[in-house]
Symmetry: C2
Subunit: 322 residues, 2 copies
């Protein structure tokens, strides 16, 4: 475990196994959840669904894996003892947690209109928050300023090979722990860290069809995949707030090469899938995590199917509406 | 396992162990859930909370235990091959499931204003629904008519020793499976089947303080316990819909004898506890299941604490409010 150099190319099989060993002492090996009632919902007969419960991961999302792996592989470069990122979502909390876990500080740039729950989560892990205007440009500029002023190491949420290697470990565990070899794997896609990691993990260690699952209202990965031209997202508007980001530049070629298909989900399909998962399994997932389920239900799935429940961080003001 | 006669007195230690063996092949041994973040919320230091996840039980609630035990112990009397009960909540679905599991039919009397989700649940387990006016008298009269017309065996939701013995197995497992001997056990109380069973299980197999947890807005068990006089509930009005019922006549003396205290929770305390459980553990529970958590947080808990998460059946129209 001496390889503390950041990756400069897409993760190899060994890179993913190294990441798994590196982060293993600090993260949860989340359970594979099965449900007869969920199996019965599939149109095809004899479908077996295996849900990977990353909503039960540290910080409530798979993001803890990539963030921790990146902090660990970049730590020799963090001479100022600090990391920095910009995030309105789960990566900010994950980096704050990962940095603190390894004895570092994390600066998190957040849009000033970020949800209170996300701000509280970053604070609870000791992250130092700098607020900025809610534009991508303001976020990047502010993060760069902090990087220059503090000597912090920037960890991008997904456009980073060490992040991709860390996220790949979620799918590696899904492949290792499912009771059967998987015929298909359904993975939500936003920036593409999880999907690129899943595609590589399956390429090296599995034999499933890998399907990316994206909201119609944030369909840049689908467009990029279908046209072969990287296309940024335009005005994303979906309840799956974790999937609003544009596909990463490093992620896209991996996805082009190793993902079998990307399919789109309507808001109604996402809501219905969220409702089904929560009511049938009693597992509280965030809307982004419903994307894989919605796709599997829609896609005339066959055989053994792995589905990534990527996170469980969601505002709970809903209790007021009961 | 020949004892297929219904109990005529409060369950003994052997009765509870027999019930456990009887129902074991058909129910889930639900997990004990722990959470460092939840432990940290307690006022006292070194508190360890052990949550019994009965929201993950068959039919989504502990009610499956009692219903199945009652169906199995009453089956020799069910010459017409049918059972009947009245229920607006989880017992109806549980009896339908239990009857079908044992090859019987179940008639479920439901108020005509019952929530759609509860009606769907009963139907999904093959229950035959008869709707009636939404009064206790209409429910009891209708159930009695069905009993007479069909020769069905009536299984009361909680005022029944075999139900109590079945529900006791949830607390028995909590005692058996928690990593430490429990100092206190917090149990929601509505009709008192779960609480009476918990008190007996702890009396025979544990050494904890047993605390009943009841909404202020449905405080009949508290009043009965504190005054020593059985007092029916008046105009219950709480989000903890499973706890609105009056304490059972058979349940009350068991609770008087073996429960250490009953404490009351405000609606705000119940909502806050629900919010905390769902956001911290990502386990989707119903509001009634928040009662034990609310009480443990309020009650300056010490040591090892068992908390019954009694169910997870709750309307999900809340997704429309995200």
């Amino acid at each position: 475990m001496d390889e503390l150099e950041p990756l400069t190319a897409p993760p190899t099989a060994k890179d993913i196994l190294d990441a798994q060993e590196r982060i293993r002492p600090y993260i949860h090996r989340t359970p594979i959840i099965t449900s007869e009632k969920m199996n019965d919902l599939s149109a095809a007969s004899n479908v077996r669904l295996f849900f990977k419960g990353e909503h039960l991961q540290k910080t409530g999302a798979f993001k803890a894996r990539g963030a921790l792996n990146a902090v660990m592989t970049h730590r020799n470069r963090a001479k100022a003892g600090a990391f920095v990122t910009h995030s309105s979502g789960n990566h900010g909390a994950a980096l704050a947690w990962a940095a603190r876990t390894m004895g570092f500080v994390a600066h998190i740039v957040m849009p000033k209109n970020a949800p209170k729950a996300k701000i509280e989560a970053v604070k609870s892990y000791g992250g130092i928050i700098t607020f900025c205007e809610p534009t991508l440009q303001a976020r990047e500029t502010t993060a760069q300023q902090i990087q220059e002023q503090t000597g912090s190491v920037l960890i991008h949420p997904y456009d980073n090979y060490d992040i991709i290697a860390g996220q790949a470990t979620a799918t590696l565990e899904l492949i290792e722990d499912a009771a059967q070899p998987l015929d298909a794997i359904y993975i939500p896609v936003g920036g593409g860290g999880l999907l690129a990691g899943a595609a590589l993990a399956n390429h090296y260690f599995g034999k499933a069809r890998v399907v990316g699952c994206e909201p119609e209202q944030a369909s840049d990965a689908w467009t990029s995949f279908k046209t072969g031209n990287w296309t940024p997202v335009q005005h994303p508007n979906t309840i799956a707030d974790g999937l609003k980001t544009s596909l990463g530049r490093k992620n896209f070629p991996i996805i082009q090469k190793h993902v079998d298909d990307i399919i789109l989900l309507s808001e109604d399909e996402l809501k219905r899938a969220w409702d089904i998962v929560v009511s049938r399994t009693k597992q509280f997932i965030e809307p982004s995590a419903a994307a894989g389920v919605a796709a599997a239900l829609k896609h005339d799935t066959q055989g053994s199917v792995g589905i990534m429940l990527c996170g469980g961080n969601m505002s709970l003001s809903i209790i007021d509406h009961i």
